[in-house]
Symmetry: C2
Subunit: 349 residues, 2 copies
DNA sequence: CGGCCGTACTGTAGCGCTATAGAACCCACC
DNA sequence: GGTGGGTTCTATAGCGCTACAGTACGGCCG
């Protein structure tokens, strides 16, 4: 059941049937109707996508490499908005979005073996297998929240600036001991972390260290409310509590708030909590979270649009245009931060 | 830069190079090393996926058709867990997951034009364009939360039973007027809705109607906390309030709880609220939600596994085996339901 | 020493489609 | 009435790979 089957049935060349499906302006409307009717009657669904892909050199799909786990991307509300914005922007160009498992399991490795027109790389460890395979394929690529690479089209946000503003806010309120709640994928070097992660930590430090603020770093395995709560429970069980907590994400911050409230602390009176992202969650938590706003939907749309353009240039045979977009962040002060309850007379330690 | 380039460089046939990449057991280890080294040196990334797809008849990708909007799938936490379970289960077979925009925008229509080995159809309107295109392609398909179709492999949950149990719980508590908070995609016939949606409504009614309970139906455009809150705010602004609310999802129920609390009502004393799904959200809301539990991860894994098997059978030339899995639901009684505050002396109306 | 098997490699024929160039024909228009 | 220019349809040559059916050869056995 191919183009040829239909062509023979109608008595035209297979090229004409191809045109009936793919380039309607190349034949008369009447003949096209005849052909489409014959195809429908034969149960022919249209040109085989695989063959078309090979002949045209375009797949209609774009990949996204998410790390560390697929689960994180869906669990985190901010990330979910980002993903859906990408998918929707791509849909406007008729492109589907393929989620690429970061590590190939067996003999088939999606990052190497799935046909696609380009890919978005989202907060992946450098050196990850999948990332290297994508690069080797010379696909049009857009990096999002990755460390700066002059050779790669990238979309980032002002992570460091936003984080610094958040930390400065705590310093200004008078906090002298601040907890840092970050994500530990397992073997990241936290203080020299890559991409967003490292930038935020560096941003916090840029405000805290010069002010002589004591810090305590705690980690959650992934960015989720439950993991954030667990990490903070462990912190609260120990001595020498910080008076404020800077969190890598709103999800972690929300978990932190719950854990604090559970153990009888009041937020912000006993513990100030700052999130990051300003996901919808930030306004649902009570008290509403002070956080650093970034626009997930804009980030997704920007990345998708950049990739669509890169693909178009490639197809036109043009040189790729390397662009580096940096979207703004903004400190949003809500109800989860306040002056520390009993300001310590002097710095501890 | 093709197989042939590498073949000529090494001085072997292109078939041998192909084997070096795809069937290591077909050549000596030494030659394979030589070939791989030459490929690396030339910057050859491996066999072109598009050509391989055409020649082998397998793509390494599976589609998922989500409706009504991509956004919903990510926004709803339950659905996010379901999706990530699918993606993870597929990854075990080396398959990637392609998100298919439900309606094609332009000349390229993913459901018709993207190459894939099979697809999962998730809570889609029957008659949706995308759905029909997938069927026409005769792809291995698995339906999830779709209306019963004897010809389609399907995974469903006991929506009606779960919903009936939830409604019966309210009846047993003595509620005589219950609100139904459902999703209105725009033009669904609510009472005869399809798939999960209709089943849940029918389940509620199966307990409420025989007991003579008065019902008020309100709708939210999508299943999200914010939309649920909006819908309930509108309800609360009117007269003749129900004493309990049955919600299509936990997200809607959570929004309902927030809206009720906002306007000074206590849950469950002034208003009982029942969710559906038992997503992680249900335990985060205060009071914790009474809800109908279904296992999102199991549903995702089951659907993915069924599709993988259907693809394998197809590849082996075997007849498809039509299976219909129905996963259990379970009423989970937590803190958001109670006896109505001031039991009306007799039925109203 | 001939026959037979297993391993290692090769040649060819597609997979189903589309790009491109070109053939056939009709319609003006000078 | 010839010529140029549309429009409509066709023939061919790939796209880059893999399945399959070989060929070549070394070793082992009777």
């Amino acid at each position: 059941m191919t183009l040829k089957t239909v062509a023979e049935r109608v008595g035209v060349s297979s090229m004409t049937v191809s045109n009936a499906f793919s380039r309607p302006d190349q034949l008369s409307a009447a003949l096209r109707e005849t052909i489409l009717a014959a195809a429908a009657e034969l149960g022919y669904a249209g040109p085989d996508p695989a063959a078309r892909t090979l002949a045209r050199g375009a797949t209609g799909t774009v990949g996204i490499l998410l790390s560390p786990s697929l689960r994180y991307a869906f669990t985190d509300e901010f990330s979910a908005v980002f993903l859906s914005a990408i998918a929707e922007e791509l849909a406007r160009s008729g492109l589907a979005l393929t989620l690429l498992p970061p590590e190939g399991a067996g003999v088939v490795i999606p990052t190497r073996d799935v046909a696609m027109d380009g890919a978005i790389v989202y907060s992946c460890r450098l050196g990850a297998d999948g990332l290297e395979q994508l690069h080797r394929r010379r696909l049009p690529l857009v990096h999002v929240d990755q460390p700066y690479d002059p050779a790669a089209i990238s979309v980032n946000v002002e992570d460091a600036d936003g984080a610094r503003a958040a930390a400065q806010h705590l310093v200004d309120l008078g906090h002298r001991h601040v907890g840092l709640l970050v994500v530990d994928g397992g073997d990241l070097d936290l203080d020299l972390g890559e991409g967003s992660h490292g930038d935020r930590i560096r941003g916090w430090r840029a405000a805290l260290d010069p002010a002589g603020v004591e810090t305590t770093t705690i980690t959650a395995p992934v960015s989720s409310e439950d993991e954030g709560a667990d990490a903070v429970r462990a912190l609260l069980a120990g001595p020498d509590l910080p008076t404020a907590l800077l969190c890598f994400s709103d999800a972690l911050a929300a978990g932190a708030v719950h854990a604090a409230q559970e153990s009888g602390l009041r937020v912000p009176d006993d513990l100030s909590v700052v999130g990051f992202d300003d996901s919808p969650l930030a306004r649902r938590v009570r008290p509403q979270l002070t956080t650093v706003r970034q626009d997930a939907a804009a980030k997704g749309r920007t990345a998708a649009a950049a990739l669509v353009e890169a693909i178009a240039r490639r197809r036109a045979g043009a040189e790729p245009e390397i662009t580096h977009v940096v979207l703004p962040t903004e400190l949003v002060i809500r109800d989860s931060t306040a002056t520390p309850r009993a300001p310590e007379p002097a710095a501890g330690r």
